[in-house]
């Protein structure tokens, strides 16, 4: 009598279990790796309407971030400069350069340049630049080495764990207020950072904000 099930079917349950385990772990690994802002958002680098370079302006010319992003110390929002701010220099510098045609046109007509926004947290997250900047948190902690970028890209993930990592231990990141916009600056040693951090925590009364309502309000 021939068998209804051939011999190899004895191994079938084992094969199914192995297959499911393999597929399951691949799916979990995929979700872990891809379903996070570290994949979906970090590295975003849109094409901007004007080929503005932070590397030239902030890096080589050594301009302070606040020359253009004037709101960053005063409000929650860090503004993109008006085209009249560019024209302060570009009425003399590269006066007729085609790369700046859109800037001149915008300054003359008052119609804003359509810059593409890169960094943006979800609308249910409350964020505030002035709190961070006036408590010794440098731009570089959240935006990376902007002064070396020809085109700005999203350097950090801005996931909730990214924010919380610093909020759990802000002392490791605080620096003197004069060095906020000096992106390349570092404390000379880990001990110096530790000493400054603990002193700043006390002096500025910095709290470790981890309660949900700090950011979701």
């Amino acid at each position: 009598m021939s068998a209804i099930f051939p011999k190899w079917t004895n191994r079938l349950p084992l094969m199914i279990i192995c297959g499911l385990l393999l597929t399951g772990s691949a799916v979990i690994a995929g979700v872990w790796y891809y379903f996070t802002p570290e994949y979906t958002r970090a590295g975003y680098q849109p094409v901007q309407p004007v080929a503005f370079s932070h590397n030239i302006h902030a890096g080589q010319l050594g301009m302070d971030c606040r020359y253009c992003h004037t709101g960053v110390e005063k409000s929650w929002f860090s503004n993109i400069p008006a085209s009249s701010t560019c024209m302060n220099c570009h009425n003399q510098v590269l006066k007729d350069d085609p790369k700046l045609a859109l800037v001149r046109e915008s300054a003359a007509s008052g119609k804003p340049i359509p810059w593409v926004q890169i960094h943006r947290v979800p609308d249910f997250v409350y964020f505030n630049h002035s709190v961070h900047v006036n408590r010794g948190v440098s731009c570089v902690e959240c935006h990376g080495r902007i002064d070396q970028m020809d085109e700005v890209y999203h350097a950090k993930s801005f996931s909730m764990s990214f924010c919380l990592e610093c909020h759990r231990n802000p002392a490791a990141k605080l620096r003197p207020l004069e060095k906020i916009t000096d992106l390349g600056w570092k404390q000379p040693s880990v001990e110096a950072q530790h000493a400054f951090g603990t002193q700043a925590l006390e002096h500025w009364k910095v709290e470790s904000l981890q309660n949900c309502s700090a950011c979701h309000r």
């Binding site: 691949a26 849109p46 050594g62 929002f77």
Partner: protein, 215 residues
């Protein structure tokens, strides 16, 4: 099993090949895997907005209106933002003459603030010492930049320099929109200190220290 493994490996390679790795630079707008309430229909600054005729969310004030701000503290007076006061206009009240002296009390704090602001807003062109040799001039990108130690500029009243910062002058653009009123006066005060540093005389040094000066 062999076929399954083959399909599995091809599948994994296809996904990683198409999706790439974390943090790779990409021109595509970020994916939103779950929309949740990430984008709500609320007004955000500096975004396009179809509701207004100008098409932008950040509206300019209606011409002739004054923002409702808390008054400015000058000594023990509070100056509301609509008053014709020297600290706001740089002019003597009720006239078109520039005020001679800084209306804010000049303190060490004000000078420190002025130094910081001067280095942010003025140094790119005028240089940190104000000699008109800032970076834009040094690399030859900018032709005309004033030397702030010129006798004519040293003799200008404080109010006129405030006016230059606020509204610009000839080839220099206005800094009024970017620098708030108290900071402008802080810059004026610091600029005076810079000028004084070039005009100092031996007699200004306290008597006991004069001997220590190097020629």
């Amino acid at each position: 099993m062999r076929y399954f493994l083959l399909i599995f490996v091809v599948g994994v390679l296809a996904v990683t090949g198409i999706a790439g790795r974390r943090g790779a630079h990409s021109r595509n707008t970020p994916l939103q895997i779950f929309a949740d309430m990430k984008r709500q229909s609320k007004l955000r600054p500096q975004t396009p907005n179809a509701f207004f005729a100008s098409g932008v969310s950040s509206q300019l004030p209606v011409p002739g209106t004054i923002a409702h701000l808390p008054g400015l503290q000058v000594g023990d007076q509070v100056i509301p933002p609509y008053q014709d006061a020297p600290v706001l206009t740089g002019l003597e009240t009720g006239s078109t003459n520039y005020v001679q002296n800084n209306p804010l009390p000049v303190t060490a704090v004000l000078l420190k603030r002025g130094q910081e602001r001067f280095n942010i807003y003025c140094a790119p062109c005028h240089g940190q010492t104000g000699e008109g040799n800032g970076i834009t001039k040094k690399i030859g990108a900018m032709g005309v930049v004033a030397n702030l130690h010129d006798k004519r500029i040293v003799e200008l009243p404080d109010g006129e320099i405030y006016h230059t910062i606020t509204y610009g002058k000839n080839l220099m653009g206005p800094y009024g929109p970017n620098v708030p009123v108290p900071d402008r006066w802080a810059i004026v005060a610091y600029l005076r200190t810079l000028q004084l540093s070039q005009l100092g005389l031996v007699q200004d040094v306290p008597q006991p220290l004069q001997g220590a000066l190097k020629k």
